[in-house]
C-alpha cells in the first residue's frame, strides 16, 4: 500500500482555527512537507506572526517562537545568529510583513540573513476583521476602505517581492499562488527551494504566496479562489524575481 496523501510529520494533529476554505491551511501543509522532505524536523525553529497565523505555534510540530507583530524577521535573525546550524523560518501575513514589519523584512533581506520567509499575501488584515492592507488592491472594499481603496486616500498596493528583489542580500524571491493543484505544486517547489537555500547557506529566501481570505473578502471559498486568480494575480504576477543561488554562496 502506497501513501499518496497524508498529514506531514511537521504538522501537529490539532485542528486549525482557520475559516472554511482559508488557504492558510494549504500553505501550512506545504511548509510542513518541505520540512519533512528535507529532514529538518529536529533542527527547525519556526517564527509565528501576529495575524491569523498567530497560533501557528500550535500547528507546526517543530520548535516555535511567537513574535511580536511584524518583527518576525528580527526574531528569526536573533535565533539564527545564535544557532547558525539550525533552520529558521518565519511565517507572516501581509499586514505583518508589508506594513508594520517593513523595516524588519527589508533589513533582514539586505543583511542576507540566512533565513526562510513564508509570506502569505491575502490582500487584507484577516485576523483583525478585514481592514485594508498595504497589499489591498485598488477598488477593493475593506472595513477601512469602505468605498474601495482609493489612490487619493491610500495610495497604491505594494509589490513586496519586486521591492525586495532590488536588495543584494536577497538570494531567492518568488511569488506563487495556491489556487489549484498545479499552482499548489509550483508553490511547493518554491517553498522547498526557499528552505534549501537556507540549508545550503545561500542567504535570504522569501516565497510570497497569494492566499485567500474568504471571510473578509465576503466570498465563498471557491469564489475567493476565482477572485484571487482574476484580480490579485493581475496586479501580483507570479514568478521567480530573484535567484542568485546558482551563482554560489551569497552569504
Amino acid at each position: 500500500m502506497q501513501v499518496i496523501a497524508k498529514r506531514p510529520m511537521a504538522l501537529t494533529d490539532v485542528p486549525t482555527h482557520y475559516c472554511p476554505g482559508c488557504t492558510h491551511g494549504i500553505i501550512h501543509r506545504l511548509v510542513a512537507e518541505a520540512i519533512d522532505e528535507l529532514g529538518l524536523n529536529e533542527k527547525t525553529i519556526g517564527v509565528a506572526p501576529v495575524g491569523c497565523a498567530v497560533l501557528a505555534y500550535k500547528y507546526f510540530n517543530v520548535d516555535m517562537h511567537e513574535a511580536s507583530h511584524g518583527r518576525a524577521p528580527a526574531v528569526a535573525t536573533g535565533i539564527k545568529r545564535v544557532l547558525p546550524e539550525n533552520i529558521v523560518f518565519t511565517y507572516q501575513g501581509d499586514g505583518d510583513l508589508a506594513s508594520i514589519g517593513t523595516a524588519e523584512i527589508v533589513h533582514a533581506a539586505a543583511r542576507g540573513e540566512n533565513i526562510t520567509v513564508i509570506f502569505v499575501n491575502n490582500a487584507i488584515y484577516g485576523m483583525t476583521g478585514g481592514q485594508m492592507a498595504p497589499t489591498t488592491l485598488i477598488g477593493q472594499r475593506t472595513t477601512t476602505s469602505p468605498d474601495g481603496r482609493m489612490v487619493e486616500r491610500a495610495g497604491y498596493p505594494v509589490r513586496v517581492s519586486e521591492m525586495l528583489s532590488t536588495l543584494d542580500g536577497a538570494a531567492y524571491i518568488a511569488r506563487v499562488a495556491v489556487t489549484d493543484p498545479a499552482n499548489v505544486n509550483k508553490a511547493k517547489k518554491a517553498v522547498l527551494k526557499a528552505f534549501r537555500t537556507q540549508v545550503e547557506r545561500k542567504g535570504f529566501a522569501l516565497v510570497e504566496l497569494l492566499s485567500t481570505c474568504p471571510t473578509n473578502w465576503g466570498l465563498s471559498p471557491r469564489e475567493a479562489i476565482d477572485w484571487l486568480k482574476e484580480s490579485m494575480m493581475a496586479y501580483y504576477p507570479l514568478g521567480v524575481f530573484k535567484d542568485t543561488t546558482g551563482e554560489g554562496e551569497t552569504k
Binding site: R7, P20, G25, D180
Partner: protein
Amino acid sequence: MPKNSVVFSEERCKGCELCVTACPKQIIRMGEHINTKGFHPATIVDPEKCIGCAFCARMCPDMVIEIHRE
C-alpha cells in the same frame, strides 16, 4: 488499474468545497448531514472512478483527506 482509497476525516472537514472543485473526476460531493462543527462534510461518491491524483488532498486546507493506493 490500481485501487485508491480516499479517506475523509469528516469531523475535520469545514465544508469549503475546494476539494470538489479540484477533483478532475467530479466524484466529490458535500454531504447532506452536518458534523459537530456545523459543516456539511465532503465525501467521495464514486470511489471506483478515483484516479488517485490527490488533487483533492492538495487543495484541502484542513488535512481532511488521506489517500492510499493499494
